[in-house]
Symmetry: C2
């Protein structure tokens, strides 16, 4: 503190002085031309006439506080933490609130520990939430289980920043004991609780907010955003790879309520991070949607800092951590340089630090399945009537379709618009395989397989031929997880060596390999309205209507119950 | 939590439902017509169709969150905590951040304990800051001493909410070790630090803010407010009995920066609290100054809650404490009823709770002085030149005047415009008496004495006759502190039985008795531009320029040194 005072008072030279900056002030909305004086990673002063051991000429660029990503599942990038950091830091992101929901569902707390250790090697501050829904539903064989007691124990330690998005809102509204214990433990430690309340409104929204759940990122309309803000929740405007309703949700922002809005990406893939950007992209889009530049900057800085009680950041002001982004302007937010704790970490899109990756054993070799032969994919039909799921275009919601099919020992799909879908339990090699049918996916003469499948991340296979499906599954068993394509001409595998979810390869390779696989799947007929592998990854998420498949069978999400593949009763 | 959910979902009746309210939403700035459902002292829901064991018809009144007073020295009201609460609760104040700077300077930590216990008996939440400047200056014999080590020990406990206003900004800027230890201990416990930075600007303001000092209430101009806000401080707009620059400072508030502004009274006497009000008065004045009603309400509610990390209040929203004010409108803020934690505590200006006062021994009989005779007030003069202090009209700043006077064993004041001023050490009966001269106060043929004298609260006497001054001092010794008037015709004493600072009498009596004493003093000639007793109470505060008197002698505040009463060198 003495050093900061001495530097501010010019009795001591600073470590770094940013000169000739247009410093945007998130408290006043004004821009001051001047200098930012930095000592020991903190901002000592904003002013003029400072000298430092390093003096950086900003050449009139805008200086903004480092961006805060308020809610993301890093695993969705399929990148290692180190590679994720390498992509987002040059985009101006210096702080991330991450919910390691995916890897914890596979590896338990050890998965979060891995992320924590990996992020500690890069100049990015990542605050990890303890996932609140492990497993996400009672319909699947989870890789891990974190109940209320365990949640209380973990939150009492310093390791987790807060409680991750409480997706199980039905349990909250029903007042289920184990769920309330999780919420109460976060509240009693004064730790933030993230929410997930799609379309919740009125009494239900009040009940949900009354539990101290502070945020929500699921709003699709301006009215939904406004109601959540009115009930005291922070609204996280989501700019993700698939989910992006900013054109609607941004309409909710006005000068009075804007302090209650944050930005998040939730799920963003490596390609989008590489080509479009991260928080810089979200800011750009927000301004295009008509939000003023000043208000937009606050959503990615001060507002997020306030929401999460991070008093040490979110502004360029004395005493705060020197996380600073230099941008060309306040419309396109093209990032010229990024400083993290007073050290330059990126310039002109390139990172300026090196890091050696390390993947511990606890997150490797996590795909444990029994050998599967083609016969395991047989679907015998007795009644002549089966239910199939059909995915709505450009979305994750499915409809249930009932079809008449020939009876027999197996259902042959050649010449139909159907694919077989299998979810193979992959945590305990239990041999569980859930089987179902998908209508209209378009895949012909090939099988796709992936070990990313929300939220328990079993091995999902789709295809129209039992042998190719078995082959695809076995390829992923050998690879320790990943993505596979199998046709009569070609076999292609991209291993996801970290928990079967993420690759330790460089981002460029992850992007290229996933593009290759997507292209092969498209070549085999997958329709344009679907993401060949990523749509697949959500077909076992039994919290989104209507019909989903887990390793234990088909789930009718609305009835919240298993249903058989064959339709025997009247429906 | 289960109860709150069940009430919000209408599965259980509420404890209280406020019906037909115009509910002002501090998040959106909008007003909703509807109901507030309350359970276990918390808000379960905002909506319609709720039923409760008690249903209160608001008849269309505006419902606002309970007001938060962000910085006050309760002792300045001269009221006991219970009586203070009785005056401010009907005005809508439900939460107070109090700095017990006065009583702790007299009684040490025990003084704060007394306040804490007394406030626990009334339905008002008072968060006590640990005073940071005890004693305030090195020039006086303090009643207590709290150094950096002690500060660290006290802040590590749960008892104090944060660190009280750091008035010793020269020590901060100089980086004095003991001072920085206080700041660092508050920061390391994550507790808020209040500031006091009159006219601080530029580098000095940066240095001060860099220490994590979060607030300031000393700004006199809009420019000063704006600069403090820009450096990340919360600006507390002060509406006190003497200090009120709202007409200037309110100009600083705009729609972008308004979230950084709070309201406080700092020092407000009982009469003003009774006749003008408290936070309701501040709100009324703020709106008159041109700040929108919505922004104004936020300064007294959400903004203060955010500043101090009080996530459980500051808004009418699910999960928050049910502190609710019903007001006729959003311009005059006439308070109709006040609910504290879901219970009605005031209606139409009357409190609806009873409380029995209790004053513990530790804050009684605190005025310890030796017997003083008239001779102790003799001022022998050798040089023929003395310095006198002259108080600027309507203020606390003094100027130093040098006067030629006759030499002799004592200075006789009859026929002059001078009074004698004495500061009698009153904590240890040391016999210390500081003597000085005041020009232009106007007092003739009488002596005034008071044991409120910032910040060490010695016994201050002013008069033009040694015998009457001695008599006034002895009357206060007998009374255990208070205010005294002595003339040849009349003796009047109002005891301040609590630490010599506050009275345990009802507010109405405190107001009447102080008015009587003021009237007597006016009758004895005290000029209209001074508050007869209160101006006196600041003549020993050696942090305000220019010449002040402590029990150890005259202090030149600008030179930060003692000076003799007689002028011997050339000046």
């Amino acid at each position: 503190m003495k050093d900061l005072i001495d530097c501010a008072m010019k009795r001591q030279p600073c470590d770094l002085v940013l000169k000739n900056a247009r410093i945007f002030n998130v408290f006043t909305g004004e821009t001051e031309y001047g200098e930012i004086a930095v000592k020991n990673g903190r901002i000592a002063a904003v002013g003029a006439g400072y000298c430092g051991r390093i003096e950086y000429d900003c050449k009139g660029a805008f200086a903004l506080p480092g961006f805060i990503e308020s809610h993301v599942h890093v695993e969705s990038s399929m990148l290692s933490p180190e590679e994720f950091a390498r992509l987002v830091l040059p985009r101006g992101t210096t702080t991330v609130i991450a919910d390691p929901h995916e890897i914890v569902n596979v590896c338990g707390i050890a998965g979060a520990e891995y992320l924590r250790e990996a992020f500690a090697r890069v100049p990015l501050d990542v605050f990890l939430q303890l996932p609140s829904c492990v497993p996400a539903t009672p319909f699947e064989t989870g890789g891990a289980r974190i109940d209320g007691e365990r949640t209380a124990t973990e939150l009492a330690k310093d390791t987790f920043f807060g409680l991750g998005e409480m997706m199980n809102y039905p349990a909250v509204l029903a007042g289920e004991e184990d769920c309330l214990l999780k919420l109460a433990s976060a509240n009693s430690c004064g730790k933030p609780i993230d929410g997930h309340a799609p379309a919740l409104s009125g009494e239900a929204l009040c009940a949900y907010a009354a539990c101290g759940i502070a945020t929500d990122h699921e709003s699709l309309t301006a009215a939904e955003c406004r109601e959540k803000a009115a009930r005291g929740m922070y609204v996280q405007l989501r700019v993700g790879s698939s989910a992006n309703h900013l054109r609607e949700t941004a309409k909710a922002v006005d000068p009075f309520n804007c302090r209650r809005f944050l930005l998040c990406s939730d799920d963003k893939n490596a390609r989008d991070l590489q080509t479009r950007g991260h928080m810089d992209d979200a800011l750009r889009q927000l301004v295009v949607c008509g939000v003023s530049s000043g208000q937009a900057v606050c959503t990615a800085t001060l507002n997020a800092a306030e929401c999460y009680g991070l008093k040490d950041r979110g502004a360029i002001a004395p005493g705060r951590i020197a996380d600073i982004v230099l941008a060309e302007d306040l419309n396109r937010f093209e990032v010229r340089a990024v400083f993290k704790r007073g050290k330059i970490v990126a310039e002109d899109g390139k990172t300026m630090f090196s890091v050696s990756q390390s993947v511990p054993d606890c997150v490797r070799d996590t795909v444990k399945i029994q050998d599967v032969c083609a016969d395991r994919f047989r679907i015998p039909v007795k009644s002549g009537k089966v239910r199939a799921l059909q995915v709505r275009p450009h979305g994750l919601v499915t409809d249930e379709i009932v079809l008449s099919v020939p009876c027999g020992d197996d259902l042959h799909l050649q010449g139909t618009d159907l694919n077989k879908l299998a979810v193979i339990e992959r945590h305990r090699a239990s041999g569980n395989i859930g089987l179902g049918l998908v209508k209209g996916y378009g895949l012909h003469g090939a099988a796709l397989a992936i070990t990313v499948s929300h939220d328990s991340h079993h091995l999902v296979v789709i295809g129209d031929d039992n042998a190719r499906m078995a082959r695809a599954a076995m390829l992923l068993k050998e690879a320790g997880g990943g993505m596979a394509f199998v046709s009569s001409e070609r076999e292609e595998v991209f291993p996801l060596d970290v928990a079967g979810l993420m690759s330790s390869a460089p981002a460029e390779e992850v992007i290229a390999r996933t593009e290759t696989l997507d292209a092969l799947a498209r070549g085999a007929g997958v329709k344009d309205c679907y993401e060949p592998f990523m749509t697949l990854a959500f077909l076992s998420l039994a919290v989104i209507p209507k019909l989903k498949l887990t390793d234990r069978g088909l789930v009718d999400v609305e009835k919240f119950a298993f249903v058989p593949l064959e339709v025997t009763e009247e429906i």
